[in-house]
Symmetry: D2
Subunit: 330 residues, 4 copies
């Protein structure tokens, strides 16, 4: 079986996914849509797909599944449209910045019984996959503490910040999902301390650029997350999981491992600096998993519910900062 | 000038300090006291000192300074006695487990104008000293976030736990001091999440064995601390400081750096497993600094006030766990 | 301009190159040939190319360049045939195991003025490229010593050994090329010590499985190479270059950087274990460079002459082992 | 039993050994001699020993063993004098630069049946000790290849070079001993390539500053050594031993493991830069082993014969450079 795909959104991440599809024998990119016809046309040309309108893709009989890579504010309605059309759906995170809207959208998906995968790409990073595999294999015994260091190389422009939903819903949401992925239990409370240390403009917009967050599960497992919008040394993405029998950790990635030694010391290059480069393999594996889920009929993961849960933690974290207390989760 | 020292307490740590003194040309260990005469006698013999009663050491004209390495419950009264006798004082942490008692003790010290150094040995660890030196040199610019991983290899016996004052006053207190040492600003609030994940007996004693703590300063700098009483891979003592211009970090220590590679992978030995081995150099440097402070008349650091401040944070952390909110400091 | 390619040999390495071609916009795989029709058919199907006979590919007007990935004993004659047909040529190393045959073949290539690239893939490994770039940038000043550790995970079957030309012509030849690539001067003498330590069958076939080789240039620069056919910990491929101002080095690669720590120590996974996995990026970059050379008309590197020079060193190394002396080159 | 020691030579290394003795409960430094009375006096004062003439130390009834740390040209005659006086002897390497003189000296030692330890301090480095321990424990199975990287941070002054006996007898001799220590078999041939790449003055004095050496044992085990007089990044001392079942390696040492990360990359400090700092622990352990050998009556290692064997390899290496061939050993 070949899964026939429609791509809604021919921007940066749409292109990445089109490239991933090209390498999957069981998948074929049939059509591309974008609000900017030139973007759709260019991507269609390079990927051997047709340009179609979004509505046409939704309605097409020759398309089994859609990838939604449009701006965030279109996600929920497009998911609903695709669900109603009976398509399998992959959507970039977040489904929406508003919890109520997400719930409504997920209700529609449930009603139509279509699979929905949410783009928490980091779950597919080979290093993090291996961390999880070791946990599942019992290598470290019962999980006790998860430490996530997640730092962007540089703050996004003010314009992005405005539409982002804020640090927790935009950036930490990946870490919330990762904490859930690794803790082995649902967090029941969240505490967050957040500051404006990097860029006062971010503060003026009511957002934060630096944060430390503590999640706790019912049995007392603890996850801590360290975030900043500026790590001068690159895109810092590390994970450590402590269990009763040991520690499993995943370190950062670089373009090369070349080292220069001289009288100043030993120098390795900075980290990969861009999320799409850092997570190249993860994006590939993510789309491969989506296609494979459709062909096998397996359960979709991460699901719409995973998207909702991470958003709920983000909202609670924001409340925690404002109220300076641990906020109980659902 | 030779500083003539009296050692009060010939136990494990007393022996370490006696060894350090032997290697300092400007210092001489004159006398040793211990509640167990055999212990005093053995240490006196191996270090070329006399055995005396504690009171005699306090009163001795041929002793300039005392090192108090007795059990914790004797610290405060001995400090007071030594202060009244005009001795310079080095005392192992903590001064006392009770804040009021510490304040009273420090008042006596202040009244008699003697120097008092508190044994936060980690401030003298060559790696952590270098981290601080890099911060002071401006290498990473303004400090933003401090991350401390501080994990014991195995929980102490129940008997020790009972007298310890609990996780925060016994173990995390070192990390609170280190956070203060590195943040460049005083913490103004603390949040702590603590659990019993390692040993139910610890929970039955009303204590915790696993914790994650977040400290925040007035300008929004954040320190996070990860503690556990059980790290199967050794005594895990790491520090990272993120600044606007970079990251400075200190890693763990091992006995050797030998690596074995075979079909199972690349294996390095576990971490140094015992605090006295891990911090051998720190103990040496600490006593050297104490002696040097006396001869030079320089300001003592870490001072009695540093001891008090760390204890205040520990108390607030405990309240935070119970009230599940950030507790304001001082 | 699109470079139209014919692939001669649809085996393991042929498939790798077909994959690389698929990802190069400026290249198109037109036809595939193989002595085993099924192999050609399968690769043609998955890559969108036609199956043709080798002779037909050589003669085809719609093919600009050929990739020769047949067994070694066909390389030289196929190169000659392609040269006579005016095709640009990429050929896996070695051109031939016999120096005289190589010289004759290169004469034909020269006569017809076609570009010939020899598949010393390691020159395109991103790590080694970066080492060379640092040298060229003057980072370490004048090169003095090159150290190459080059170890196979496990010995090939006896049948392979028989046809291989022996350790130096089959395996070390890559290291000889790498030494030339990094020394900045031609070696003028070679000394080799070789043993049978791994598998007596290799010795019975007149070959060696372990060797240490020293190359010296006119100005006294020294390269040393350490080879074995069995490194239980994976495919060990490291380079260090010492210069007057510093050292630049490239380390090994692993599938992930996940680390497990417990009472036994800190364990990372073994090295990538297979040359095609270890050098995946190198193979891609190699074919990309070949195509780019054709479109730009730039000088081919590594050239046929590079192939010859490495073979001459291999022959001299073998003589050195037998005569237990340094053998002068060229 | 307390071993009573006399120290002949109060220079740099003499001071190090005096410090080591002070920390050994079973040893006592009784007397110090030096051609410069001031040097002897200073060291005697700081170590609690007496100043005596060398002859008086040799003859003293209250001295059991001597440490010879004088200039090289006095070693052999002092060893002989001490042997005749029935003292146990520790002597810095080399016994002499001339093989015949060494043989004569060892004959005298043998005649008088006194223990003689030669100061190959690296055998006592905790890292290298651990490498050897792993080999002895069978961790890597049968040893096949030893790789030693041994590089000085900067060339010594011309005056030192003149008296040194040349690169192989002065510097590589340590590596020859280490190769013997690790190979598990005696080398039967040596090939050396040596150059003047660092300092032309060294060449004018007839010496070399850069070398690569290959040793081979009877069964074909191979050791390779990389030497230079100038490693801008510090005192580079690494060992790797490949066995049939794995690789065991020891890496370099630094003063701290602090790392700085910023836009330029990740920087660690250069290596420990001075042999006496790098091998501090080794010097301590060496003298401890010497004392312990005397008290236990155990076999001395490394022995005078080890000193001779390393010198024989050095002489053969020099011949190899001149004759450009592998030279057969003993």
């Amino acid at each position: 079986m070949t899964v026939r795909l429609g791509l809604l959104g021919a921007g940066r991440i749409g292109k990445v996914h089109a490239g991933a599809i090209a390498a999957i024998p069981a998948a074929k990119l049939v059509a591309v849509a974008d609000a900017f016809p030139e973007a759709a046309k260019a991507l269609a040309a390079s990927s051997g797909a047709e340009v179609r309108e979004a509505d046409a893709i939704m309605a097409a009989a020759d398309i089994d599944a859609v990838l939604i890579t449009t701006p965030t504010d279109l996600h929920a309605s497009m998911i609903e449209q695709a669900a109603k059309a009976g398509k399998a759906i992959f959507c970039e995170k977040p489904i929406d910045l508003d919890v109520a809207r997400v719930r409504a959208c997920l209700a529609v998906v449930a009603e139509h019984g279509v699979p929905l995968m949410v783009g928490f790409n980091r779950r597919f990073d080979p290093n993090f996959v291996e961390v999880r595999r070791q946990i599942d294999a019992g290598t470290i015994g019962k999980v006790e503490m998860v430490s996530i260091t997640s730092r962007d190389p540089a703050p996004p422009p003010a314009d992005y910040i405005k539409r982002s939903g804020g640090l927790f819903r935009d950036m930490t949401i990946h870490d919330f999902d990762m904490a859930r992925f690794l803790l082995g239990e649902e967090p029941v409370s969240v505490f967050a301390s957040a500051s404006v240390l990097v860029d006062p403009v971010i503060g003026e917009l009511g957002d934060y650029d630096s944060a430390s967050i503590v999640l706790t599960t019912k049995s007392g497992r603890i996850a801590q997350i360290s975030n900043t919008r500026r790590a001068s040394y690159g895109y810092d993405q590390r994970i450590e999981v402590l269990g009763e029998k040991g520690l499993v950790s995943a370190d950062n990635l670089r373009a090369t491992n070349v080292e220069i030694a001289n009288g100043s010391g030993y120098l390795r290059e900075p980290l990969l600096n861009f999320f799409m480069t850092r997570y190249t393999e993860a994006y590939r594996a993510e789309i491969t998993a989506f296609v494979s889920t459709i062909t096998s009929g397996a359960k979709v993961s991460p699901s719409g519910d995973d998207g909702l849960k991470a958003l709920l933690i983000a909202d609670a974290a924001l409340r925690s900062v404002k109220e300076q207390r641990a906020v109980t989760l659902g």
